[in-house]
């Protein structure tokens, strides 16, 4: 239970600057300013660094898996059990503890208050609690590596009954630790999520109507609402599995005969877990994708010096994708013995999602069309995202159809698909966004040359890893196999390809070291950026000081006069008009046909 009465009563404490404004919390020393801080910007950076740290663990795990696949037995300590543990931890860390945490906890915390002209989140104390619970969740998860038996090796989907049966790696402690960590994560996220939603609903500054919000905020807002509705499914599933594991109940455990001996369990339904898991799991894809959509829209518009094409359509598409993503979950379960009628229903809804998604891609391309494209590092990453997302999206159409999915199920094709669409694509956006907003966070630019090398190695390298993987999948190479052995339908050349992919993966991973070095180096030696190095319109670039201090806005909060995309307005003195710029003329002077629809 969260304490919603906090901060709302205003009975004690400091006088507010303005009537009707939230009281700010005032740090008194270094610890409350940088460690137990209630400032959304500090919390955002804490979220980001924690996610980055655990993400590096997941990156190393992927290296180890790739080495095992290309050179079986080269690393003696990787046995089958370890391999499954690496798969599981890599998947769970990347999806939940890195991507979700960075987009919502990181960018959500940093950008929502700044972009909306708020001084902070609406419930700062709850926000701080959110981060610390997330940190505990990450530490609990990492503790899995050190308990007897190691972390769970059940696969990131944690399907019962196998996840809690003896002989699954980590059955002893690992699975308990995983479930507890997930429950903690969800509790922490709910606290943060309440903040993001209520801040969007209640914290906007004067003139900031919903339809003037930058698409970044729309994406994060919609994703947060979805996460608040979807994570309870994982929570319920985790609680029930924990009961099964610890208290001997049979929510998910059917009657099982193992090694000729009947087990104690009876009457549970493993399919029930799959429904709960994917009721969370599919929206999760869009919980990661929607913030990426929003951020990319803003990057493209800013770095092409042109208003976003079809702003209204973009907003509607985000909302429609968010709603539709709740009725497609069973397309992950086509091979679990589903009624063909349901299969048809879920295939249809899955394909319908392609409509608003394609609409967004068209609008990005049309925004670029005849724009003044600057190939800055953020822009490169944004363009890389569009291409990668289209790639991953198209293979999604293959897999969304029952008849195509059944033969491809559990092959490397699926691995290639989801890595393209929700691995590589969102990561490219995260990088682009860091290059874009780093100047606001630190007051210095990231090094451009290092950034460009980082982009090209990451982008081309990721394709070198995952493009051939589609082909392996079409050959029928199964996923999750520790070593392939002799399979008659897989030619020996597949092994050569595996070696190629592994080398590419090692190079891409190593390129991230350059990125980390750049982050640290530029903190001291980067070119001073000034307040608004990209000439962007949105409010976070208009703060009186950079990096913005606690409270963001000095004495007065900004007043918003226009939407977030007034770039290259004819007749205007500069090539952009900030959202808090009252003059000169109406934006309606933009030529018809370029102002969206």
């Amino acid at each position: 239970m969260v304490d919603l009465t906090h901060g709302g009563l205003g009975g004690d404490g400091h006088a507010a600057g303005h009537a009707g404004e939230l009281e700010l919390y005032h740090p008194t020393n270094w610890v409350t300013k940088y460690v137990f801080s209630q400032d959304a910007k500090v919390i955002a950076i804490q979220y980001g660094l924690t996610a980055l740290a655990i993400g590096l663990v997941a990156l190393v795990l992927s290296w180890l898996m790739r080495i095992q696949l290309a050179y079986p037995g080269a690393l003696a300590f990787i046995d089958a059990d370890r391999y499954y543990q690496f798969i599981t931890m890599h998947g769970m860390i990347m999806v939940v503890y890195l991507l979700t945490a960075v987009f919502l906890g990181g960018f959500g915390n940093y950008l929502i208050p700044l972009m909306l002209g708020a001084r902070d989140m609406m419930f700062p104390y709850l926000n701080m609690l959110s981060y610390w619970i997330y940190l505990v969740a990450v530490l609990v998860l990492a503790a899995g590596f050190f308990v007897p038996g190691g972390p769970t090796g059940a696969g990131w989907t944690l399907y019962p009954p196998q996840a809690i049966l003896a002989n699954t790696p980590g059955q002893q402690w690992g699975i308990i630790i995983m479930l507890v960590s997930l429950m903690l994560f969800i509790v922490g996220f709910t606290m943060g999520g309440l903040n993001y939603v209520v801040t969007v609903l209640q914290g906007r500054t004067k003139g900031m109507t919903l339809m003037r919000m930058p698409l970044t905020v729309w994406g994060i807002f919609t994703a947060t609402v979805m996460a608040l509705l979807a994570f309870p499914a994982l929570f319920v599933g985790a609680v029930m599995m924990l009961f099964d594991r610890l208290l001997g109940t049979s929510f998910f455990m059917p009657s099982i005969i193992a090694m000729g001996e009947p087990l104690d369990t009876a009457g549970g339904s493993p399919i029930l877990f799959q429904h709960l898991f994917w009721f969370f799991g599919h929206p999760e894809v869009y919980i990661v994708a929607l913030p990426a959509f929003g951020i990319v829209s803003d990057l493209i518009s800013t770095h092409a010096r042109k208003n976003i094409f079809g702003y209204r359509m973009m907003v509607w598409a985000i909302v429609v994708i968010g709603a539709l993503s709740f009725v497609v979950w069973a397309h992950h379960m086509y091979v679990s013995g589903m009624n063909p009628g349901f299969g048809f229903f879920f295939a249809t809804t899955t394909l319908i999602i392609a409509v608003p998604t394609a609409l967004k891609v068209y609008n990005w391309v049309l925004t670029l069309w005849r724009g003044d494209i600057h190939f800055t590092v953020p822009m490169l990453f944004a363009l890389g995202f569009i291409v990668t997302f289209v790639n991953g999206g198209l293979t999604g159409l293959f897999l969304g159809n029952v008849v195509v999915d059944v033969p491809l199920s559990d092959t490397m094709f699926v691995v290639a698909h989801f890595h393209m669409v929700m691995g590589v694509a969102p990561i490219l956006v995260i990088f682009g966004a860091i290059y874009h907003w780093y100047p606001k966070m630190t007051g210095r630019m990231l090094n451009d040359a290092m950034g460009k090398i980082h982009f090209w190695v990451t982008f081309l390298g990721a394709y070198a890893v995952f493009f051939p993987m589609h082909y392996l999948g079409l050959l029928g190479v199964p996923r999750r196999y520790f070593e392939s052995g002799d399979i008659s339908f897989v030619p020996p050349s597949a092994q050569t390809l595996n070696e190629f992919m592994t080398i590419a993966a090692l190079v891409v991973g190593a390129a991230q070291i350059l990125f980390l070095f750049n982050l640290a180096w530029s903190l001291r030696h980067g070119k001073p950026s000034g307040g608004n190095p990209w000439g962007a319109t949105t409010l976070e670039w208009q703060t009186p000081e950079t990096p913005p201090p606690h409270g963001n806005w000095g004495a007065e909060r900004p007043v918003v006069y226009r939407w977030a995309y007034d770039y290259s307005v004819p007749g205007a003195a500069s090539d952009f008009l900030a959202q808090n710029d009252p003059g000169p003329g109406p934006a309606a002077a933009a030529p018809i046909g370029e102002g969206g629809r």
């Binding site: 239970m1 969260v2 304490d3 919603l4 009465t5 709302g8 009563l9 205003g10 009975g11 009707g20 708020a118 609406m122 709910t190 309440l194 209520v198 209640q202 914290g203 906007r204 003139g207 109507t209 919903l210 339809m211 003037r212 609402v225 608040l228 509705l229 979807a230 309870p232 499914a233 929570f235 319920v236 609680v239 009961f243 001997g248 109940t249 049979s250 929510f251 009457g267 549970g268 339904s269 029930l272 429904h275 709960l276 009721f279 208003n307 702003y311 209204r312 907003v315 509607w316 709740f326 007043v559 006069y561 226009r562 939407w563 995309y565 007034d566 109406p586 934006a587 309606a588 102002g595």
Partner: protein, 234 residues
């Protein structure tokens, strides 16, 4: 999963209706000026707290809708043998109704500025909620004594799960209620209490509604009702 889909449809319906009212069809690129065609709403902490609670109730609703969905999905599998409910659950239900009413009294009292009825309402609400939790524990104890153990059958497991989830939410509510009561006992005025009292009352009503739904589920009234509806449609 149909229950959770109905719940989502409800939430999404409200969200769409609200979004449309917020100018989802406006053309921001032609509108320059402070208001942008929309009325300006100044942020206020009490309203933010109320909105926050409303959002939290949606999350809680989602949690219970999913639990109910899972329950019905499992109960639909032929071999379901429901728990014989201990009679004390009806007494507990009555206690929770009283608790909810007491907090409503406190809320209306706070609106009138009547500290005495706020005090009575808060204390009575807190006491009856504790009584409810104690009653739930007695129900568990009785079931255990009769041999309905947690692990002996899926219906039992579900019974303990849903009552535990609901009980934890009541306990969480009691923490918030305890803080408000503590402030009152330290001599806070009605004005300083009214927001907290109102939030607690809203949360209690939600807990009551959820409990009534869960009771309907556990007594299989809801199952019977769905069956009758199906027969009527067929």
């Amino acid at each position: 999963m149909s229950v959770v889909l109905v719940f989502l449809l409800l939430v999404l319906g409200i969200a769409f209706w609200w979004l449309v009212r917020q100018g989802l069809f406006s053309k921001p690129w032609v509108e320059v000026g402070v208001a942008g065609g929309m009325p300006i709403v100044e942020p206020s902490p009490p309203r933010a707290a109320r909105v926050g609670l409303a959002v939290f109730l949606v999350v809680m609703g989602s949690l219970f809708a999913l639990t109910v969905s899972a329950y019905l999905m499992r109960a639909g599998l032929g071999d379901w043998r429901p728990v014989r409910l201990p009679g004390i659950l009806y007494v507990n239900t009555f206690t929770l109704v009283v608790s909810s009413l007491a907090l409503e009294t406190a809320r209306t009292g706070a609106r009138r500025g009547d500290l005495a009825s706020v005090r009575t309402g808060l204390l009575a609400g807190g006491f009856t909620a504790l009584l409810f939790l104690a009653g739930q524990l007695v129900a568990w104890w009785q079931l255990n004594a009769e041999g309905y153990y947690l692990a002996s059958n899926p219906a039992n497991a579900f019974f303990y799960l849903v009552t535990a989830l609901h009980g934890l939410h009541v306990a969480g509510g009691l923490v918030a209620l305890g803080r408000v009561t503590g402030r009152m006992l330290k001599g806070a005025g009605v004005a300083a209490l009214s927001l907290g009292v109102g939030l607690c009352a809203t949360y209690w009503h939600a807990l009551l509604v959820i409990w009534l739904v869960l009771m309907g589920l556990l007594t299989s009234w809801i199952g019977d009702f769905i069956l009758i509806c199906r027969q009527l449609l067929a």
